[in-house]
Amino acid sequence: MHLKNLTAYGFKSFPDKTALNFLPGITAIVGPNGCGKSNVADAIRWVLGEQSAKALRGGEMADVIFNGTDRRPPMGLAEVSLTIGGVDENCLRAAGVDLTFDEVTVTRRVCRDGSSEYFINKTPCRLKDIQQLFMGTGMGRASYSIMAQGNITQLLSSKPEDRRLVFEEAA
């Protein structure tokens, strides 16, 4: 499995539809303080099913929706899509996805009332289906694949019971 494309629309500081293509190897994201780099990481974490608003640095889930600037009004919804290539047939089958090709696009959309909708290849689905799709691939929610800013030492400073979570994910 590998990431191919991330498209954000109305998510945090991305009011206009913006796309980012990923290649194998290392992709570096740079820019001044406050320009929106960590928001890209948040978009990936969110579309994969993150349920905690606090993990997205907000108070409630609607805080991920573009809240406006001095010149633009707030938006009513946020939507992020993540296209993943090289998906394993078993995962596709488990999530009930059409097996014609190995690429899949996961989409999440939220409105001001805070309720989320999920889609796989533009077909509505449940959060469970998305979690099913990534089960056992290391891309799960509690996983160690997204290290938030300033959080790397969390692995060391958390309580011994909490550390287990990451080990269980890998088992």
Binding site: L23, T27, V30, G34, T137, Y144, M147, I152
Partner: protein
């Protein structure tokens, strides 16, 4: 699942011990279950000792040493169960030049398993990248993404902005 957890734990432990000694050029590190008797519920304790030092607990490690110890643990887990991708947000901020080089060397070893998305302000880390994206806020409060064509040697030419569709 008890066997599964125990084997995974032992593998991660082996990896952590060897990665730590490699990253710090010596010293020793270890993982152990707080309560051996209850494998499925027990917490996990981390011990880390940089070369030459006698540490009483990992909280006494410095900011940079803690980051490098966490990097050793993260990649020890990756060796057992690589994730297809990994996002690292300013992991290099507390590191000095020599630790940044060590971090980059380790990262390169894992390229075969995973894609890395690295958010950074550090020039050395940037020079490592295959693809570089700049995030700008020309209009206050509105983020746009610009992709910078990049040859590993670093002669960058700014591309047209990433397709605002």
């Amino acid at each position: 699942t008890k066997e599964l957890f125990t084997t995974t734990f032992q593998q991660i432990r082996e990896n952590f011990r060897s990665l730590f000694a490699e990253i710090f050029g010596g010293g020793s590190a270890d993982l152990y279950l707080v309560d051996e008797g209850d494998v499925l519920e027990s917490g996990i304790e981390i011990v880390a000792r940089p070369p030459g030092k006698q540490l009483r607990s990992i909280s006494l490690l410095s900011g940079g040493e803690q980051t490098m110890t966490a990097v050793a643990l993260l990649f020890a887990i990756y060796q057992v169960k690589p994730s297809p991708f990994c996002v690292l947000d300013e992991l290099d901020a507390p590191l000095d030049e020599s630790n940044i080089n060590r971090f980059i060397r380790i990262l390169q070893r894992f390229l075969a398993h995973s894609q890395f998305i690295v958010i950074t302000h550090n020039k050395r880390t940037i020079a490592m990248a295959d693809v570089l994206y700049g995030v700008t806020m020309q209009e206050q409060g509105v983020s746009k993404i610009v992709s910078v064509k990049f040859h590993k040697t670093g002669d960058a030419t700014a591309d047209q902005p990433a397709r605002p569709l």
